[in-house]
């Protein structure tokens, strides 16, 4: 991998981000509902007051000027005010995004390790009962509704066994003695939602790892490696896996982006204060500035994840030079 590749990828990401920005901006201009009435929330406001509000917010300026202002404010970190929360959008999103990132990363890490491991075992033992069991597990968990699994987990681990708390990210109304205490509390709350999310995505990873490893195992260089006298384990770990893990990186990146927005079900079931739920709330309240901010942040995360995947790819696959 060289710096030219890196620059090119940064450039691509920047372009994508800009296009998303444009779409995101104009999408909200063509959505139903008039921002002025949203701000006023008063059906009896008289026309002169409406005109006043219009000019105050700059709605009387041409669209392009408005867009330029929007961009300028974005760069400054101003995402606008939430109608509903009456707070800067960025502040509303901030803590929620952190909650989702914690959840998504915890789930991803478990799912990646477990998925790759299961896929590897299944591929190496293709056709044996272990393979069938892993495949079955993958398909069932893949098809399982997230909210249902979450409810089952809560019913069993929280209600029946009383092992974990059921709601939120921290125990409410508690002041923590120190960072360690807080982390332990977070871990307790995080465990079930993260496991739920991980179980739902692990099947996809293991199936992809399995099929990609099976593809690789039929390649000639695997026969070469065997012919050289490498042990079965070395053939798999040194020659097959480095090639088989390439496709999975793309999937992980796509999934990671998707999860930021898609953790909604888990967040709802476990009352996790994440961005998925915030989006749902914003939608219900027709809080357009907040929704717009969330869309932008989520898009940014998706683009960032794909960028990271490209970098990983360039690092792991020497053939990539474009």
């Amino acid at each position: 991998m060289n710096s030219e590749y890196l620059l090119r990828k940064i450039f691509h990401s920047a372009i994508t981000l800009f296009i998303v920005l444009i779409i995101n901006y104009f999408l909200f201009r063509i959505m139903p509902g008039d921002p002025v009435s949203m701000i006023m929330r008063n059906p009896n406001a008289n026309p002169s007051m409406l005109a006043q509000v219009k000019s105050l917010y700059g709605f009387d300026k041409p669209q392009l000027v408005q867009f330029a202002v929007y961009l300028r404010e974005l760069v400054k970190g101003n995402f606008g005010m939430s109608f509903f929360y009456r707070q800067p959008v960025i502040d509303v999103i901030g803590s929620r995004l952190f909650a989702t990132l914690v959840l998504a990363f915890a789930a991803e890490i478990v799912a990646i390790f477990l998925g790759i491991l299961l896929g590897k075992i299944a591929a190496v033992r293709r056709g044996e009962p272990v393979d069938a069991a892993i495949l079955g597990f993958s398909l069932v968990t893949y098809a399982m509704p997230t909210f249902w699994l979450g409810i089952v987990f809560i019913a069993f681990f929280c209600v029946h066994l009383g092992l974990f708390p059921t709601v939120g990210m921290y125990t409410s109304g508690v002041t923590f003695a120190g960072f360690a205490d807080k982390a332990v509390d977070l871990a307790k709350h995080l465990f079930l939602p993260a496991v739920t999310l991980a179980v739902v995505i692990v099947g996809g990873y293991s199936m992809i790892m399995r099929s990609s490893l099976l593809d690789v195992l039929s390649e000639d260089y695997i026969t070469t490696a065997r012919a050289k006298g490498l042990s079965r384990r070395d053939v798999i770990n040194r020659h097959a896996v480095p090639n088989a893990r390439l496709p999975i990186i793309t999937i992980i990146a796509i999934n990671l982006g998707f999860m930021i927005a898609g953790a909604l079900q888990v967040e709802t079931v476990f009352s996790w204060p994440g961005i998925g739920r915030l989006m749902y709330e914003a939608l219900k309240a027709r809080d357009y500035p907040l929704l717009q901010g969330i869309f932008l942040i989520v898009s940014f995360c998706v683009i960032l994840a794909n960028f990271a995947a490209d970098i990983m790819y360039g690092y792991l696959d020497p053939r990539i030079r474009y």
Partner: protein
């Protein structure tokens, strides 16, 4: 003692359609330093024969009968652990260049060094020096030592593959269409190189190819295979000059002669036999224009037509 003796080898694949008898009763032998060419249409079992000798069959393949003696030791009876010690030191293989015979995400030098480090007590530094010496031997610039396979041209990749095959000084080298994907000039260079090194180190070779002229120029013996069986076998000069099996005769006619008159290449009508349910009698009989009644019912035995030259045809002697 012969270096390699393959006796009545049978290799079957268990598939959903049934048992594929990819290699069915194949015998041949090689002296030290000798080269044999395996030729025949696609799907006749050449690769399977080679992989059987190397004990590298895929999961669904199995050796159903026969013996493979390398230096008098039964290779097929060894455990995987024992085999691993013999691999690459005794037998190595060079695959077709167009295919991915080299791992695309590993440096070429690393892949060669890997074989060395596995079989010999070497330090990293010594292994690297050996790799450089091997690069020199196959005439690749040492500046390419830290490159990845995709940075090599097809011909260079094949040279690198040969360097790797030579690394541990094997007694037998298998070339499975080692030059098929290369242009004629490079093909000639690679074969010349292989021949030179083979003579230098006294290595025997099994050369798999579709091209009879390559066999003529590079091998001592030739085995013509058809439908999983050996149709004709013998010293190259005798078989090519005096082919006694109708299939060999057709195969020779199927190659255009540049110096000869311009005429259409004669392809052999029909298809190779289904190896799950092969035809009764001689497997070539449905496509043979000299077939008589007996050919459709009785399988021909190997018949000796001249010393060392045998053909599996009921009427082999008539044609010699």
């Amino acid at each position: 003692m012969k270096l390699l003796e393959v006796r009545n080898l049978k290799t079957y694949f268990d598939t959903r359609e049934g048992v594929v008898r990819a290699v069915d009763d194949v015998s041949f032998s090689l002296e030290k330093g000798e080269a044999i060419g395996l030729v025949g249409e696609s799907g006749c079992g050449k690769t399977t024969t080679a992989l059987s000798v190397l004990q590298l069959l895929p999961k669904e393949g199995r050796i159903a009968g026969g013996e493979i003696l390398l230096n008098g030791e039964d290779f097929a009876a060894k455990s995987e652990e024992e085999l691993r010690k013999h691999r690459w030191r005794d037998v190595s293989i060079v695959f077709q260049g167009a295919m991915n015979a080299l791992n695309p995400v590993m440096k070429v030098s690393r892949q060669i060094a890997e074989a060395l480090l596995l079989h010999e007590e070497l330090t990293e530094e010594e292994a690297r020096r050996r790799v450089l010496a091997l690069f020199d031997l196959v005439e690749i610039s040492s500046s390419l030592v830290d490159c990845y396979p995709h940075e090599f041209s097809g011909g260079m990749r094949q040279r690198a593959m040969i360097a790797m095959a030579l690394a541990c000084g094997p007694k037998l080298i298998v070339g499975d269409e080692p030059t098929t994907a290369l242009d004629v000039m490079v093909q000639a260079q690679i074969l010349a190189l292989l021949g030179k090194l083979r003579r230098e180190f006294g290595m025997a070779m099994i050369l798999i190819t579709h091209d009879l002229s390559i066999v003529g120029a590079n091998c001592d013996q030739v085995a013509v295979m058809y439908g999983g069986k050996v149709a004709e076998i013998g010293p190259v000069g005798k078989v090519l000059r005096n082919p006694c099996h109708p299939y060999t005769q057709r195969l020779l006619k199927a190659f255009p002669d540049i110096r000869g008159e311009r005429e259409m290449v004669q392809s052999i009508p029909g298809f190779p036999p289904n190896l799950v349910t092969p035809p009764p009698g001689c497997r070539f009989s449905p496509r043979c224009d000299a077939a008589r009644e007996i050919c459709f019912s009785r399988e021909p035995a190997m018949r000796c037509v001249e010393p060392g030259h045998e053909a599996a045809c009921h009427f082999a002697e008539e044609r010699s």
